[in-house]
């Protein structure tokens, strides 16, 4: 799309209203206005508009505003151990969460209620190999083991690790580094750096597209062959996000032996960035970036700020084209599935309205044409009711999905009643299983899910197909914590699918693992299955310093052993993260569930 000559001058007309023109720009604009009726009308309309807004009625704040602020400030200065929890209800709707953060200062990890080896969150036992899909253990059997029979002792840490565990370092392969524009006039810059050194891998070119901008990245995923990074970047505090994809290299081809067909050569140059669309910034459901196992397709979701709701989109690296897959206003992209006897994978697409339902949807027709703007319910390959946005584990064997009643929130959807994540096996083509997601169970095994429950949460699988992390969990029900607020939006919950006890309150990372008051932006599970790379953002400082984010590596321990945490990437005024891992190995066709 190119800008016509009037549109080019409209920006100058707009800037002229608040004196933001250079001398050259003013001369150019005046010369153009002399001979252009249309732009003179635009100037008059914009000037009227500015007068109308400036003349909006001034409204006096409530008389008790000062008293409320004073109460809040004085309350903040009271030591946390002297604060009754009931006071929070009088000081503002958001303070219940503050209460949780203040009262949950207990070090949970050393709890005697959770000794090592008793259905604990220990990640030390051998997990399933990446090529061996796991089945879920029976619920509430003590040891989280894939090999031991129920009742046998928990495998000890010295048990022989899998090759993947031996070889995998905990550090991420790549990290996105973003330097925002500063008040001193520095323009923003954007790099991809090595996860374990200071090396700059790539300085991508600015995104292409008339509305493309870059801001702080808040989500990122690397294609499984390591050739593309997809990102969600935040457009400052504007409430809008951009979805971007950058071609980072020829790829590590970690699983090239398993693939009979070579990856098609992408037409986009290395370092090129493509803007895939703008979206309302919202819940983690909108930040899902799903790569197909062959690295050809990316699926993502855009929430249209003009009111048409949410729909799933697809980007094809083979052609560098992207398109709107659905046109129903309540669809979310979830995960890709390799379809037997087909070269093109299909996409789980979920619809939010009514009974949440997921539809396995073809993205290309048999003759290679794109499937565009469809209702995924019209002609699905597989249907799964009461399943929303299933996140399929990297080996394809398991899924974490959501169920509950969703409600429309502006231009997106979140859970309004009974929302909760569930863990299940994933057998989309196994008719004998009776369901595409059999053996479903609550992910948080110690929570009572009532009408008031989760609104949303961010969830990430580890590359081992066993470990997973949950964070930014927004809970609207009553506090169910035995040791502090639970669930707590400010905590990271780290679990393993093979843990028969399920995910529990004491699976939260130690609060001391991460900087106090910093907010969690993104979490990735290292291939080791026991390390997390956590991206945290600094609170707003009063000096208008640029947004800052750091990456922390947290090694999870249990029992009396405290977690270990250290900074991986930090720098003043630099937004480090998200991190990405490659090596999302594909399922060995010989062991895949038929």
């Amino acid at each position: 799309m190119t800008m016509n000559r009037h549109e080019a001058f409209e920006e100058l007309i707009s800037a002229s209203l608040h004196g933001d023109l250079t001398d050259d720009e003013r001369l150019r604009l005046n010369a153009h206005l002399d001979g252009c009726d249309r732009c003179r009308q635009t100037l008059a309309a914009f000037s009227d508009q500015r007068r109308m807004l400036a003349g909006l009625r001034h409204v006096a704040p409530p008389r008790d505003l000062g008293a409320r602020v004073r109460a809040g400030v004085e309350y903040a200065s009271v030591p946390w151990w002297r604060k009754p929890t009931t006071i929070f209800t009088a000081v503002g709707g958001t303070l219940a969460a503050v209460a949780g953060a203040l009262l949950a200062l207990v070090v949970l990890n050393g709890s005697p209620a959770n000794p090592v080896g008793q259905a604990s969150p220990t990640p030390n036992g051998p997990g399933p190999t990446a090529s061996a899909p796991v089945s879920l253990p029976a619920q509430a059997t003590p040891p989280p083991s894939t090999d031991a029979t129920p009742g046998e002792p928990t495998p000890q840490p010295e048990a022989t690790p899998t090759p993947a565990q031996l070889a995998a370092p905990p550090e991420p392969d790549m990290v996105v580094a973003f330097e925002p524009a500063t008040s001193a006039g520095n323009e923003q810059s954007f790099k991809v750096v090595d996860g374990s050194s200071e090396d700059v891998i790539l300085e991508p070119s600015p995104p292409e597209g008339p509305t493309a901008t870059t801001g702080e990245p808040v989500a990122a995923e690397l294609s499984s062959d390591g050739t593309f990074i997809a990102m969600v970047s935040r457009e400052g505090l504007s409430g809008m996000d951009q979805v971007l994809v950058t071609h980072v290299g020829e790829g590590v081809a970690a699983s090239s032996e398993a693939s009979a067909e070579p990856t098609p050569t992408p037409p986009a140059a290395i370092g090129g960035t493509t803007a895939l669309g703008a979206s309302i910034a919202g819940s983690p459901f909108l930040e899902r970036l799903a790569w197909s196992s062959d690295s050809r397709f990316l699926a993502y979701t855009l929430a249209d700020p003009n009111g048409s709701g949410t729909d799933a989109w697809v980007f094809d690296t083979a052609t560098n084209e992207f398109w709107q897959l659905t046109a129903v206003g309540d669809a979310y992209a979830a995960s890709w599935v390799d379809v037997p006897d087909s070269e093109v994978p299909a996409l789980w697409v979920s619809r939010a309205e009514g009974t949440v339902t997921s539809y396995l949807t073809a993205v290309m027709t048999d003759d290679g044409a794109r499937v565009e703007r469809v209702n995924p319910a019209a002609d699905p390959l597989v249907v799964a009711e009461h399943v929303f946005q299933p996140l399929i584990s990297p080996n394809g064997a398991l899924a974490i999905y959501w169920d509950g009643v969703m409600t429309r929130l502006g231009d997106e959807w979140v859970f309004g009643e009974g929302g909760a994540p569930y863990l299940a096996e994933h057998r989309p083509f196994d008719e004998a299983a009776g369901s595409a997601f059999p053996e479903g169970r609550q992910l948080f095994s110690d929570l009572t899910i009532d009408r008031e429950a989760f609104t949303s949460a961010a969830i990430s699988w580890g590359t081992d197909g066993n470990a997973f992390a949950v964070w930014n969990a927004v809970w609207t029900g009553g506090d169910q914590g035995a040791q502090g607020t639970y669930p707590d939006e400010a905590r990271v919950y780290f679990g393993h699918a093979t843990d028969s006890g399920g995910l529990k309150e004491d699976h939260a990372l130690d609060q001391s693992d991460l900087p106090a008051d910093w907010s969690i932006v993104d979490v990735k599970v290292s291939p080791t299955g026991q390390d997390l790379v956590v991206m945290v953002a600094a609170p707003l400082a009063g000096d208008l310093s640029t947004p800052t984010a750091e990456l922390w590596l947290v090694t999870r321990h249990t029992g009396d052993v405290a977690d270990e945490s250290r900074t991986l990437k930090s720098g003043e005024g630099i937004w480090y993260g998200p991190a990405v891992f490659d090596g999302y190995v594909e399922v060995d066709p010989g062991t895949e569930t038929p």
Binding site: E10, S14, A15, L17, H18, D20, Q41, T42, A44, A45, D48, Q49, R50, M52, L53, L56, R57, H58, V59, A60, P61, R63, D64, G66, A67, R68, V69, R70, G72, V73, A76, G92, T94, P180, A181, S183, E187, T213, E216, E235, G236, L237, S238, G239, M240, G282, S283, P305, T407, R408, G410, V414, G416, T455, P539, L540, G542, D543, L544, P547
Partner: protein, 191 residues
């Protein structure tokens, strides 16, 4: 700067503790900015109670971070940045954005509760019509227009508040003005 009558947190009350310069500084900040911040947020969210909650949270956050303010000239941008962030956070979290109660005093009713468009345009005050046009804009367009035209901020200051570069603000403002022009036309303002 207009300050509501009977504000219980007035400067004299705070300066009864002269040893606490921080308290006095904050009281002055509240006196100068509480009303404009409240109005800015009110125009953003179109709900008096939520605007009050967001303004309250803004000043509580500001109090906690007051020590980090380094330049007096940027205090205004900093406060608006906190307010913007808090308002966006509120908009993300609110659960019933489409079911605003009828007894809630607002500038503009929801579209589906209006009478016919013509009658509505005739009946509404100028203020209501402008607010209704504002509400139809996407949030980032609404923000930058309010900061520019209601708060009279420069593109540079808007960039500080919204975390955008100077060039991005100019582009965003132009798009916002174009969108607002169409929205005002739908409200019967022909030009």
């Amino acid at each position: 700067m207009a300050v509501p009558d009977g504000l219980p947190w007035d400067v004299p009350a705070m300066t009864r503790r002269p040893e606490d310069a921080r308290e006095a500084e904050f009281a002055a900040l509240f006196e100068e900015f509480s009303s404009p911040i409240y109005n800015y947020v009110l125009r953003m969210v179109n709900d008096h109670d939520r605007a009050a909650d967001i303004t309250q949270d803004t000043f509580i956050k500001a109090y906690r971070k007051l020590d980090t303010v380094s330049e007096a000239t940027s205090t205004r941008s900093w406060l608006y940045r906190i307010a913007t962030n808090t308002a966006i956070d509120d908009m993300r979290r609110r659960r019933n954005v489409t079911t605003m109660s009828d007894d809630q005093p607002t500038f503009a009713n929801r579209a589906d509760s209006r009478p016919g468009p013509e009658a509505q345009v005739m009946a509404a005050t100028l203020d209501e019509r402008v607010q209704r046009a504002l509400l139809s804009l996407r949030p980032n367009h609404r923000q930058c227009l309010l900061l520019s035209d209601l708060e009279d901020m420069s593109a540079h200051q808007i960039g500080e508040v919204m975390g955008l570069s100077y060039g991005a603000v100019r582009t965003l403002l132009c798009r916002a003005r174009g969108e607002m022009r169409r929205a005002l036309a739908a409200e019967g303002f022909a030009r």
